[in-house]
C-alpha cells in the first residue's frame, strides 16, 4: 500500500518542480536589480512606466469589451441550442473548438485579408475600427472557454421547465433570458469572463499584427530591451491570471455550496 502511494507523490513532486522552479527563478531574478541585495526596484520601474499603465488599461478595456460581446453572443446561442436545437449541439461545439486548432496567426492573417483598408469592410482603416476588430478576434479566441463554461452552467439547471414556467406567467423572450436564465448561469458566465480576461490580458499575436498598443506586445518589447523588468512583468502577468483563476474558484465554490443545499 505504502509502495503504491510513492508513485503519485513522485509525479506531484516532479510536476511542482517543473512549474515552480522557473517561477521562483523568475521571481528571484526580478528582485536582483539592485546589486548585492534583493529589492522591488524592477516592479517599481515597471508600475511607474506610463506605457505599462497605458497598455494594461487598453488590454483591460478590450478584455471587458470582449467579455460583454462574448456573453451576449454565447449565452443566447447556448440557451437556444439547449432549448430548441439540441441536435445542433455537436456542430456548435465543433465550431467553438476551432479557435483552439487554428493558430492565432492564421486567424489574424485571415482578418487582414478580409478587413484590410481596401476591402468592402475596411476594419483596419482606423484605430477605433481596428479596436473593434481586435475585440471580435478576442471573442473568437475565448469562444471555446466561454461556450463550455456557459453550456455547463445551462446544463446544471432545468432550462426547459424554467423557460416554460416563465412563459406561462406571461414573460417574453427578453424577460426570460435576462431575468430567469442569466441570473441562474451567473457563476458560469463569470467563469467564462475570467478565462476571457486571462487570455486577452497577455495575448500577443493578434494585437501585434493588428498594430494595437496592448499589454502583450508591451511585454514582448520590454523583454527584448531590458534585463530585470521582463521578469517583474511576467510575475505581474502571472498574478493577474492567478487572480482570475482564484475568482473562478471562489464563485464556483459559492455555487457548489448553494447547489449542495438544494
Amino acid at each position: 500500500m505504502k509502495h503504491s502511494r510513492l508513485g503519485p507523490w513522485l509525479a506531484i513532486a516532479i510536476g511542482a518542480i517543473y512549474f515552480l522552479v522557473p517561477l521562483i527563478g523568475t521571481f528571484e531574478f526580478s528582485l536582483r536589480m539592485r546589486r548585492g541585495e534583493y529589492s522591488f526596484d524592477a516592479y517599481r520601474i515597471v508600475l511607474a512606466d506610463p506605457q505599462f499603465q497605458a497598455t494594461f488599461t487598453y488590454s483591460t478595456c478590450l478584455a471587458l469589451a470582449s467579455i460583454v460581446v462574448g456573453v451576449l453572443l454565447v449565452v443566447p446561442t447556448a440557451y437556444w441550442i439547449q432549448l430548441r436545437l439540441p441536435r445542433l449541439r455537436p456542430v456548435v461545439e465543433f465550431i467553438t473548438l476551432l479557435p483552439l486548432v487554428i493558430p492565432a496567426i492564421v486567424l489574424v492573417f485571415g482578418y487582414l485579408r478580409i478587413y484590410n483598408s481596401s476591402s468592402l469592410l475596411p476594419m483596419t482603416s482606423s484605430e477605433r475600427a481596428t479596436d473593434v476588430l481586435l475585440t471580435f478576434s478576442y471573442v473568437t479566441l475565448a469562444l471555446p472557454y466561454m461556450y463550455r463554461a456557459v453550456d455547463t452552467g445551462l446544463r446544471s439547471i432545468d432550462v426547459r421547465s424554467l423557460t416554460e414556467a416563465a412563459e406561462s406567467l406571461g414573460a417574453s423572450w427578453p424577460t426570460i433570458l435576462f431575468r430567469v436564465i442569466f441570473p441562474n448561469v451567473r457563476v458560469a458566465v463569470l467563469s467564462g469572463a475570467f478565462l476571457t480576461f486571462a487570455i486577452v490580458i497577455g495575448e500577443f499575436t493578434m494585437a501585434s499584427l493588428l498594430d494595437r498598443p496592448a499589454f502583450g506586445p508591451y511585454l514582448q518589447l520590454i523583454g527584448a530591451n531590458r534585463a530585470y523588468e521582463p521578469s517583474a512583468l511576467a510575475i505581474i502577468a502571472f498574478i493577474v491570471t492567478w487572480a482570475c483563476m482564484g475568482l473562478i474558484q471562489v464563485f464556483g465554490r459559492g455555487a457548489r455550496l448553494a447547489s449542495d443545499k438544494r
Partner: protein, 357 residues
C-alpha cells in the same frame, strides 16, 4: 358552451401519432384529470392546452376564444410542473410575484397578492426563503401559488405530486383540491396515479396510446369501465374468459361453471367468446346465501397485506383474486383449500366484443 373546448385535436411527432382525435369539453370550475400510463399522450395534450406544443390538427378554445395559435404567454393559463420549476435565483415572494411583475402591476398590488397567495398555501413565514431552502412539498405549494397569483383562467397541473413521497402526496392532493374548490378555477390535472385521479377529479379522461378510452366521473370510471384497458388500469381487475350461453337471460359459462351476468351482456350473441371482469372486492369467500353467482375452486395463493388478505382462487383454467378482511378470530384461508366463492349478478360485467380477440 363549455369553458374549455378541445375539438378533434391531433398531434404527431414525425410519423408517430402521439394524440389522436381528442375531443373534450370542460365546464367552468370543473376539475378534470387526464389519467393514463406513460406515453399515452396525456402530458402532450396538456402542453397543447398550455401552448407549449402546437396541435397538428384541431382547435382549442378557452372561454369561447380560439387559443390554438396563441403563444403560452398570451393564454392566461397557470401551469404547475412536476419538477416545480421555481426560479432558483428568486425568493418565494419573488417567485410568486413574478407573473404580476411581468404584467407590470403596481408594487402595492403585487405585495398584497403575494401575501394573499402565501396565506392560501399556508406558507406566509417563508416569503424570504430561496427554493433550495424548502422541502419538495413546500416548493410545489409555492409553484401552485405562483401559478394562481396571475389569476389564470385555467390551471394546468402536470403530475405535480409524482416527485414527492407518499405521505406528502396525500396531504398535498387534499390541499390542491381545497384550493381549487375555494377559487372555483377550471383545472386540468395530469397523472398516472389512479388514486389521485379518483380522489380529486370531477371527471376523469382515461387515455391509452394517444386515444381517449373513456370520459366519466370517478364513480363511472371505476364501476362501469367501458373497455378492458379502463377496467384493468383503474383499480385491480380479474379478467376471465367466458362463453355466452344465453345472451337474452345473461347466462355465461366460465370454466364450465354457469354464471349470470347482468352488465354488458345486452349486445352479446349466444355462443360468442367474451371477456368478463370482476373486481376483487366484489368477491367473497363465505357463501352468504341469496341469489348470487357461486364458483368452486381451490386456493392457490394467500397474500397477507395487513388489514386485508388477498386470496387467489383457481378454477380449472381461470383464476381470480379476491380481498377478505383479516379477522383474528377466524381461521385464515390455506393454500390448497377447496372453497366456494360468491359474487352478485351485477358485479360481473362482460367487456366489449373487440376485447376478447
Amino acid at each position: 358552451m363549455a369553458f374549455i373546448e378541445i375539438t378533434d385535436v391531433r398531434k404527431s411527432f414525425g410519423s408517430q401519432n402521439v394524440v389522436q382525435n381528442f375531443d373534450l369539453a370542460v365546464e367552468h370550475g370543473e376539475f378534470v384529470s387526464f389519467l393514463g400510463p406513460s406515453g399515452c399522450g396525456k402530458t402532450t395534450t396538456l402542453r397543447m392546452v398550455a401552448g407549449f406544443e402546437q396541435p397538428s390538427a384541431g382547435a382549442i378554445r378557452i372561454d369561447g376564444n380560439d387559443v390554438t395559435g396563441l403563444r403560452p404567454n398570451q393564454r392566461n393559463v397557470g401551469m404547475v410542473f412536476q419538477s416545480y420549476a421555481l426560479f432558483p435565483n428568486m425568493t418565494v415572494a419573488d417567485n410568486v410575484g413574478f407573473g404580476l411583475k411581468v404584467a407590470k402591476r403596481p408594487a402595492a398590488e403585487i405585495h398584497a397578492r403575494v401575501a394573499e397567495m402565501l396565506e392560501l398555501i399556508k406558507l406566509p413565514a417563508l416569503a424570504g426563503r430561496y427554493p433550495y431552502q424548502l422541502s419538495g412539498g413546500q416548493q410545489q405549494r409555492v409553484a401552485l401559488a405562483r401559478a394562481l397569483a396571475i389569476k389564470p383562467q385555467v390551471l394546468l397541473l402536470d403530475e405535480p405530486l409524482s416527485a414527492l413521497d407518499a405521505k406528502i402526496r396525500v396531504s398535498l392532493r387534499e390541499e390542491i383540491k381545497t384550493v381549487q374548490r375555494e377559487l372555483g378555477i377550471t383545472t386540468i390535472y395530469v397523472t398516472h396515479d389512479q388514486e389521485e385521479a379518483l380522489s380529486m377529479s370531477d371527471r376523469i379522461v382515461v387515455m391509452n396510446e394517444g386515444r381517449v378510452e373513456q370520459v366519466g366521473t370517478p364513480f363511472e370510471i371505476y364501476n362501469y369501465p367501458r373497455t378492458r384497458f379502463v377496467a384493468s388500469f383503474v383499480g385491480t381487475l380479474n379478467v376471465l374468459r367466458a362463453r355466452v350461453t344465453d345472451a337474452a337471460r345473461g347466462e355465461i359459462m366460465i370454466d364450465d361453471q354457469p354464471i349470470i351476468a347482468r352488465r354488458g351482456i345486452a349486445d352479446a350473441k349466444t355462443g360468442e367468446i367474451r371477456l368478463a371482469a370482476l373486481r376483487p372486492e366484489a368477491v367473497s369467500l363465505a357463501d352468504s346465501g341469496g341469489e348470487r353467482n357461486r364458483m368452486q375452486g381451490t386456493i392457490e395463493e394467500v397474500h397477507f397485506l395487513g388489514s386485508v388478505m388477498r386470496v387467489r382462487v383457481r378454477f380449472s383454467e381461470s383464476a381470480i383474486s379476491l380481498d377478505t378482511f383479516n379477522n383474528r378470530g377466524a381461521e385464515p384461508p390455506q393454500r390448497g383449500q377447496k372453497v366456494t366463492v360468491g359474487f352478485a349478478y351485477d358485479d360481473i360485467f362482460v367487456l366489449d366484443s373487440a376485447e376478447a380477440s
